[in-house]
Subunit: 342 residues, 2 copies
DNA sequence: TTGTATGCGTTATCAT
DNA sequence: ATGATAACGCATACAA
């Protein structure tokens, strides 16, 4: 065989010029093709099983049909739900999604941005909390500048850190609302599995939570805010570390759900009853939560929608200034933090 | 701005010809470039922030640097783990991954194959059980023929159905081994949440399970094999349907883990104790399982490895006949099916 | 309405 | 070793 069928072959076979074939198949802007000719071309293309080469079209048009998606870990339900939203929105827009999973390795991020720059992707959606690491952020900013110079647009999910369009999740407010809700249920002795010190999302949730507690007159003991990884295992280890000190605590807030799930597992291993001995709450409301026991209290973020919104934002006509779409969380109280009888 | 920097600009700025610039940057096969010139070119490229256009390279080389991944639902932990493996293997091979999530809609599959055909992807990895639906499979086969004619290769995860390279999961044997293990623990009265009748993976697991029980002299009552969706909600509904008849059952095998998780939830809603009243087992050993209560017995499939293997298979030099890599499952018994005192 | 010719950014062939 | 130049497959400005 002689490789893929080309438009020239279709044109020759249909007895028309390259240009006519192109117009018949793609319905050029103002140009139009006589009905009988178009039909002949279309029939020929169908018969020959012709599929336009997207790379060639991209060259000729100066525009590709793909967008990039960068996540920390596609196997994490938080990211895979957002990815589902991105995939959905991209399909609607007729675009293909190039997936990059960094495995929590910061150095991979700018590398993937470069890959997408070379592909001349129309847009990049970057999902996942950024660190307060000026060096890494500068590198990222710099690679995004390159990407935008190549004609692409960018949308960030999380903090509005990199001077680009972003879907901003109300981390601080959500955590504050959760704190008030827990306080309302009678909890008074709080601890926090706080994630990495420099993790901005974690930090916002910590400070929002602590701030609300302060206002409620039940400030949190800084010693009870433990640092740990932003992962399920981080939550597990953090919980172990926390209870190694036999703290005086009646509820633990993990700054995300996978950490909370790890904390529940740790509690089980430590023979600490949840919620009997201590309540636990998380953040995000990942789908897998509904099958966790006890049902976990959390702050619900509409993850799939976030993915859709971020994609639409990235694809919208470019604006002068960075746009921000704010997403609120909803406190959802479940079995893991029942009404507390004091 | 004048859009992305081109190789011509770099060449001009460096005072060399286009050809030399190209060779300096990409290190052509046998050609070589004088050191000082190469350095000058490279420095110029760096200074101008030049990034080769992958689409143009694809055209000139007749080969792209991307592969496609088709899954039913990227938010399902089964698929997202395999996707992580594909992503990993692709990065190693220096390839980008185009993700397609069909949302369990069969008609989307051939459409995505076509998208990947247009992109001239090097390979497609198709993950997820196929149905015994001749029409849909023919459509799929046909679109895969188009894809391969365009130069791409294909790897399937699941059954060796479409005459292409495949990673074959030992569904029947795994289910049989599980049946024997459960029998060994004293279970005698079996039921199965069987998934869709035409779902081939589900079917293999059902028949493997039933076959082993037959051999053990404790054949299963066909009325206790209930049909349901291959999803978490399918397992939930299937469990409800099963127990609506107050069946005489001491253990339920769900043909995959997400269904088993749904079944546990249904049991909880029905106030049926697991494993007190009935044991439950699944299949796959998805990561999210470790935080399910009670810990679920299952057949462990190394999902990330499967993704890696499928990718390597698709990328290997083409063979005359379809290759098959067989993957065995490992029975893992946990709390959900304790030793049964008869 | 149709066809011809040019350009997109890169690699590869052929001279030099 | 380097440099013109012809592909690659398609879209489009321009000519007819």
């Amino acid at each position: 065989m002689a490789g893929p069928v080309t438009l020239s072959q279709v044109a020759r076979e249909a007895g028309v010029s390259l240009a006519t074939a192109s117009r018949a198949i793609n319905g050029s802007a103002n140009r139009t093709v006589r009905d009988d000719l178009r039909e002949r071309v279309l029939a020929t293309a169908e018969r020959l099983r012709y599929f336009p080469d997207a790379n060639a079209q991209a060259m000729a048009r100066g525009q590709t049909t793909s967008i990039g998606l960068i996540v920390h870990d596609i196997a994490d339900p938080y990211f895979s739900s957002i990815a589902a939203g991105v995939s959905l929105a991209a399909e609607r827009a007729g675009l293909a999604v190039t997936l990059a999973s960094t495995q929590h390795t910061a150095s991979r991020e700018p590398r993937f941005v470069e890959v997408l720059t070379r592909q001349r992707a129309r847009a990049i959606i970057i999902v996942g909390g950024r660190l307060d690491d000026p060096e890494a952020n500068d590198r990222m900013r710099s690679s995004l500048v390159d990407f935008r110079r190549s004609g692409g647009s960018v949308a960030l999910v999380g903090q509005p850190l990199l001077d680009v369009d972003s879907v901003v999740i109300a981390n601080s407010q959500g955590a504050a609302a959760l704190a008030r809700a827990l306080h309302g249920r009678g909890y008074r002795r709080f601890a926090v599995l706080g994630g990495p010190a420099k993790h901005l999302t974690a930090r916002d949730r910590r400070t929002g939570f602590a701030g609300a507690l302060e206002e409620l007159g039940t400030p949190i003991d800084p010693a009870l805010v433990v640092e740990c990884d932003f992962t399920r295992d981080g939550g597990y280890e953090g919980m172990r570390a926390l209870f190694a000190g036999s703290p005086d605590v009646d509820v633990v807030f993990a700054v995300n759900d996978v950490m909370a799930v790890g904390a529940i597992a740790a509690a089980r291993a430590l023979r600490i009853s949840v919620p009997g001995d201590v309540g636990i709450a998380g953040f995000d409301d990942i789908v897998t939560l509904r099958d966790i026991t006890p049902a976990l209290s959390t702050v619900r973020i509409p993850l799939v929608d976030v993915g859709v919104t971020a994609t639409e934002l990235a694809l919208a006509p470019p604006a002068a200034d960075p746009r921000q779409v704010h997403v609120e969380g909803t406190v959802v109280l479940r079995e893991s933090t029942p009404e507390r009888v004091v």
